[in-house]
Amino acid sequence: MSLRTERTWLANGWRLLHFGFLTYLWIGFDDAENTFILLLLLFLLTSLRWRFELPAVFLLPDILICVLYFPYTSVSYYALALPIFEWAQRGRWPFSLSVFVALGFVPFFSGWLLWYFVLALFVGFFLDRYARNLEQWKKEADEQRKARQELERVKAELLEAQRSVSKQAELTERYRIARQLHDHLGHDLTGASLALQAHAYAEDPEEAKSLLQEVKSRLERSTHSLRETVHDATPVAPIGIENLERALLHFQEIDVSLRKSGDLLSVAAYQWSLLEACLKEALTNIVRHSDATAAEVTVQVAGAIVRLLVQDDGTPRENNAQSESGSGLRSLNMRARALGGSLSTSADNGFLLVCVLPLEQEG
């Protein structure tokens, strides 16, 4: 849309210059009132061309009018430059060349006339090329936009897949732990419990002693296996809020305070990874685009959502801040949406980023 207007803007510029030149010629060299009507007629045709997309054939009236005025005024020769330009502009330059034939009929052959025609041809030709190039670029831009959208869609699907995978992994792990507990711990504990019951009814002290011994060894074994299970299940890398805290610890450009509330354990790991990405993006943005001296990060878990708020006290530097940081936020927005949440930013009162994600329903 804007590309086309740009092109017509240039064409209109040339048309206006052309009429300025004709008027100058007319005032300077030929002041017959009647020949001014020639200019008016041509101007009418040109403004029609400006308003409506007319086919190239509609340049014939221009030529006809000029030819009719040949005997009366020399301005009409120069006026032929307009059809030359218009045809060249539409990529029909052979037609333009045919107008040069008119030079043969000019009673006084002027070099200026020839050069003016050549100039019009050249400008028209240039505009044609320019328009084609623009067309090409536009097409490429469209294709790229399409490709980007495709990518974003794939990304969303991947995110969805990641979410289900991580959930699957969690379930698997839970199952493994449950089985381990059942297999070793459960077995031993049940045994110990039975042995204790038997001990209560045991009359023979020797038997009671051996039962107690069994209880002891079973409990020892189960303690051991419990320790092992817990050790296996405890992650080595920090997760959840610790990760966010660590990110803040490493970030020392400005003062950042963290407030948290609610039951942070109900937030799933894949959600933490998004929140962490948001936090990092926000902090980078603050450093890069604003003069903030302090920022406040709030993580709230309440009811069915988790909410991350990053607010700084700076005034964002206007101009390109928006566009530069756009792609990062855009992708985060996509991810947030893929997880059923939303992300929005505002620069009204310091930089503010809000990311809201729904929590998994328990059970």
Binding site: E33, L41, S47, R51
Partner: protein, 228 residues
């Protein structure tokens, strides 16, 4: 024809407009004649300026529609923009033609020397068309009603002066006289001269045709559909 009817109604709704639309032409009838200049009585030359003013005042109604959002409302209604424009212009043209008729008829009754009343009437009508089209093109550029009017007013005064309505072109330097031809006001003054000096009929036709050409050009330029 709803739009046409209401445009007429709105044109006369405002008291200032009403006075302007009726009193100005009547005043023009009774202005005295000069000595040798202008070709007809003063009022008949100044009526050209009146036409220019009336045209912009009327066209402002359309501008108001655009600025106030009525045009938005209409573009949602089953009405073509072309029909909206056409009916408005028709209404304005009717008003201007009536004014011209009043001036010519009034002058004839009041005993002014009009030479050829029919030719004069035709000249006024074609100049009215040109003035309307110019006003239309002018307002399509502006957003503020007052700015558009005051700017145009200054231009009218300049154009009337340069076109030879206020002062005879004969005293102009050569260059200015040539430039004057570009202005529609020149053709209006030329038409008055031609009527007063009893030029052949074809001359009148030529001048009227030129004025109509101006009208067409500006109509094409001014009929672009704008919303804001």
């Amino acid at each position: 024809m709803t739009i046409f009817y209401f445009t007429l109604k709105r044109s006369f709704a405002n008291l200032a407009n009403l006075i302007f639309l009726t009193a100005a032409p009547i005043a023009c009838i009774f202005l005295p004649a000069g000595e040798g200049w202008p070709p007809l009585a003063y009022g008949y030359a100044y009526f050209g300026i009146v036409i220019l003013f009336v045209a912009i005042r009327l066209a402002q109604i359309m501008m108001e529609d655009r600025v106030k959002g009525i045009l938005k409302r209409l573009s949602v209604a089953p009405v073509r923009y072309f029909s909206y424009l056409g009916q408005h212009l028709l209404a304005y043209a009717v008003i201007l033609i009536l004014q011209s008729a009043v001036v010519v008829l009034g002058g004839w009754i009041a005993g002014q020397e009009l030479h050829r009343p029919w030719a004069l009437f035709a000249l006024y009508v074609s100049f009215s068309f040109a003035a309307l089209a110019m006003a239309l093109a002018w307002i399509s550029v502006f957003r503020s009603k007052d700015a558009a009017f005051l700017f145009y007013m200054s231009l009218i005064v300049l154009a009337a002066l340069l076109g030879g309505i206020i002062l005879p072109l004969e005293i102009f330097p050569d260059l200015l006289r040539r430039i004057a031809v570009i202005l529609p006001t020149f053709w209006f003054a030329e038409g008055l001269k031609s009527i007063a000096s009893a030029q052949p009929f074809a001359d009148n036709v030529r001048i009227n045709a030129t004025l109509c050409l101006y009208a067409l050009v500006f109509l094409v330029l001014g009929s672009t559909r704008r919303m804001q």
